[in-house]
Structures are given as structure tokens and as C-alpha cells.
């Protein structure tokens, strides 16, 4: 692939998703876009790059889908889910009981649904703890294809073995041949919709927990700061932001500060005062 076309595609992806591919990703671009070029009748990825600027939205979406889809698996990294069950959930339940009896959780890069469904499985296992409280899980992603898969809740044998304890597989999935379908009970606990982190997402409403793991690493510093500010704006003062274990807001934003219990756990800088007021 020609270098100028690598630049054109990288710029296109960055403008539409914020993801910075860099020149070292030309192999990735070629691998992922060759099937798209064939599907839309282009000779190769070079020809696709020329046509991208004036392309119809279905081609643009296909390119964004192909370049932004990332692997996901159930209970990925495990520790954030333990922190959810043991730290965040009990605290937010106590707060909800004193306030509006609502907890709202947003998975900002839900991909094919494994993260929000993992949270739903934890919630279901702890159902008696939050009786009387309305808990909403919202999963959003930029990729139409990923969201479609997430809504169907169909997973391969490989996908259900990465991170998912076998007891949960038996309890919450139905097998059809080599495919595994998540139960309606779990599926009905999660709502999926399309959302671009570069665009305003205030319409989603206030959130108590935002999972945004391994997303910021793909953005440049300016975009990272902008996304963190937007998340801060929709997060309740005593809410949590969950980043990937290797991600940090150091040098990016001082609106949020690290919370105890897990390396990627953040809270609004003013959260402590609010918690003191609530427990008083």
C-alpha cells in the first residue's frame, strides 16, 4: 500500500473515531481493509483509499468497523470485576438507598457485549443485595457490526472460554451446535446503542459507573483529555470511572483522581467530600 494512502486512511479513521493508527499500522490497515475493498468492488486498498472521501456511508461505516473492532472477552482482566462486586456495587447500593434507588452503569466501548454481560452476571448473582433498586447497564460502541453481535448475544466456543467461569457458562448460556447464546435474562439487563466518544454523549444521562477500559490508549493526548472531561461531566460526583489496569490519567486530566482498590479505578476529585456529606 502506498504511504500517502496509509496517511489518508489513518486520517479518516482518526477524524471519525479519534483512534490514532500511526505509520507503523500499515500492515493492520491492509489486512483489515482488503476484504472491505473486495466487498465494495475496489481493486485493492489503494483504490479504496482514493474513493473514501466521497464514499457512501455504508463504505465509511465498514472501514470504521474494520479498523476499530477490538477483541473482547468475558471478565477481561478479572480485577475490575472483583472491584465492581466488592467495592463499587456495595457502596453505590448504599448511596442509592439514601437517594434515588437508581444505579446507572455505562460500558463506553462495549464491543461485542462481553463486558456489560459480565457485569449483568455479577449483578444477577447478587440480586438480593439490590432488591428495590433499579440498575441499568448501557453498552455503547462505534461499530455497528459489534453492536449487532452484542445484541444477538451469540458467541463461539473460543469466546465463551476466555475468562468465563464454566459454572457461569452452564448457568447463563444455551448451546446450539458450536454456538453459545446468552440467556434472555442476562440480555434483557443490558441496553445497547451506537455512540462515538468524540461526539457529545450527555444525552445518555448521569452515570454512577463508567467502564472505559483500554480505549484512551488509542487516542492522542488532546482527545484523551476531551473524552475524560466529557465522562467527568456525566459522572455523578461519587461515581467511578474504570480504566484499563495499565492506563493512567497522569498528565492528562486532574478532574479525576485514583481511587483505592484497583489500579485503573478513578473518582471525581471532589468525591470524598460528597461521600462524607452522604454518610453524615
Amino acid at each position: 500500500m502506498k504511504e500517502e494512502n496509509n496517511f489518508l486512511i489513518s486520517k479518516f479513521v482518526q477524524n471519525h473515531s479519534g483512534i490514532v493508527l500511526g505509520s507503523s499500522k500499515s500492515y493492520l490497515i491492509e489486512t483489515r481493509l482488503t476484504p472491505i475493498a473486495e466487498q465494495f468492488g475496489f481493486k485493492d486498498v489503494d483504490e479504496l483509499a482514493y474513493g473514501l472521501g466521497s464514499a457512501a456511508s455504508d463504505l465509511k461505516n465498514a472501514v470504521i468497523d474494520a479498523m476499530t473492532t477490538n477483541e473482547s472477552f468475558f471478565f477481561r482482566d478479572n480485577i475490575p470485576f472483583e472491584a465492581f462486586e466488592k467495592i463499587m456495587l456495595p457502596e453505590l447500593i448504599a448511596t442509592a438507598r439514601k437517594t434515588n434507588n437508581k444505579i446507572r452503569i455505562w460500558c463506553a466501548a462495549a464491543s461485542t457485549g462481553q463486558e456489560p454481560y459480565s457485569l449483568a452476571m455479577i449483578l444477577l448473582a447478587n440480586k438480593r443485595l439490590w432488591s428495590g433498586i433499579n440498575i441499568e447497564i448501557i453498552g455503547t460502541d462505534l461499530s455497528d457490526l459489534s453492536l449487532e453481535r452484542a445484541k444477538i448475544g451469540r458467541y463461539t466456543q473460543f469466546e465463551v472460554q476466555r475468562g468465563l467461569p464454566v459454572q457461569m457458562l452452564v448457568e447463563h448460556f444455551k448451546q446450539e451446535g458450536t454456538a453459545w447464546f446468552i440467556s434472555d435474562e442476562i440480555k434483557n439487563m443490558v441496553k445497547f446503542s451506537k455512540s462515538n466518544l468524540l461526539e457529545p454523549f450527555g444525552l445518555l444521562g448521569k452515570m454512577d459507573i463508567v467502564f472505559c477500559r483500554n480505549v484512551l490508549i488509542y487516542f492522542d493526548t488532546e482527545t484523551k483529555a476531551k473524552v475524560v472531561k466529557s465522562v467527568y461531566d456525566i459522572l455523578r460526583l461519587d461515581g467511578y470511572l474504570v480504566l484499563g489496569g495499565a492506563e493512567t490519567l497522569l498528565g492528562i486530566s486532574d478532574l479525576m483522581e485514583r481511587a483505592e482498590g484497583y489500579r485503573g479505578l478513578y473518582r471525581s476529585a471532589g468525591a470524598k467530600n460528597n461521600l462524607t456529606a452522604l454518610s453524615a
Binding site: N78, Q157, R162, G163, P165
Partner: protein, 120 residues
């Protein structure tokens, strides 16, 4: 360091599993069938067992039932690793005392994730 007994009649599976588990710092021993595994466990109980289902002489399920009835046999974490991939077999294995279940074919990532979570 934790120990793991790999029980499978396929030498290829034993070799692949041994490599992955040794990379995870397990001390690995091998057995070719359920009877050999049982004899080894009577001599020294491992911390974990990676167990095939269909094997000559004694199957994985028969071995597991015997193991769980044996003094100290409740200690090892048992991970089935088999081509018996239907939910009925999985339920049977769990009822017999399996801690985890891997459906073949598997890859390094699956084996690692299952073993990492055994102790959490």
C-alpha cells in the same frame, strides 16, 4: 511453585499443555490414562490436574469420581480438557467435582486464563 498432573492419552496434547503450564511456572507431571493418574495421586497429590475425558483403562470421569472419594482427593483443582463439548458432559463433570472445563480445541490463552482463575 504449584504442581500439575496432565492426564491425556495423546502425547501431543501432553506436550503442548506441559509447555504452557511450565511457562506459568507449574511443576508438571504426566499420566497416559485415569489409572496411571490415580496411582500417581495416591503417591503424591498435585495442586491441579488437567484431565482428558476419553482414555483407555480408566476414563477421566471415572478417575475424578475415584479421586474425590479418596482421602485428600478433594484438594486438587481439576480442569477437564476434552472434545466432549456439549453442556450435558460439562454438567456431569461439574457434578463429579470438576472445578473448570476446557473444550478442545483450546489455545494458550484459554488454558492460561482458566488456570489463572483457579486460585483467585
Amino acid at each position: 511453585m504449584k504442581s500439575c498432573l496432565v492426564v491425556d492419552d495423546s502425547s501431543v496434547v501432553r506436550k503442548v499443555a506441559r509447555k504452557i503450564l511450565e511457562d506459568m511456572e507449574y511443576i508438571v507431571d504426566e499420566a497416559e490414562d485415569g489409572q496411571e493418574a490415580y496411582d500417581k495421586c495416591k503417591h503424591e497429590m498435585p495442586d491441579a490436574i488437567l484431565l482428558d475425558w476419553n482414555m483407555p483403562i480408566k476414563s477421566g470421569l471415572e478417575f475424578l469420581k475415584d479421586l474425590r472419594g479418596f482421602v485428600g482427593g478433594d484438594k486438587p483443582k481439576v480442569v477437564f480438557c476434552t472434545t466432549e463439548n456439549d453442556v450435558g458432559h460439562i454438567a456431569m463433570a461439574l457434578k463429579a467435582g470438576a472445578n473448570e472445563y476446557i473444550m478442545k480445541p483450546f489455545d494458550r490463552e484459554i488454558l492460561e486464563s482458566k488456570f489463572e482463575r483457579l486460585w483467585s
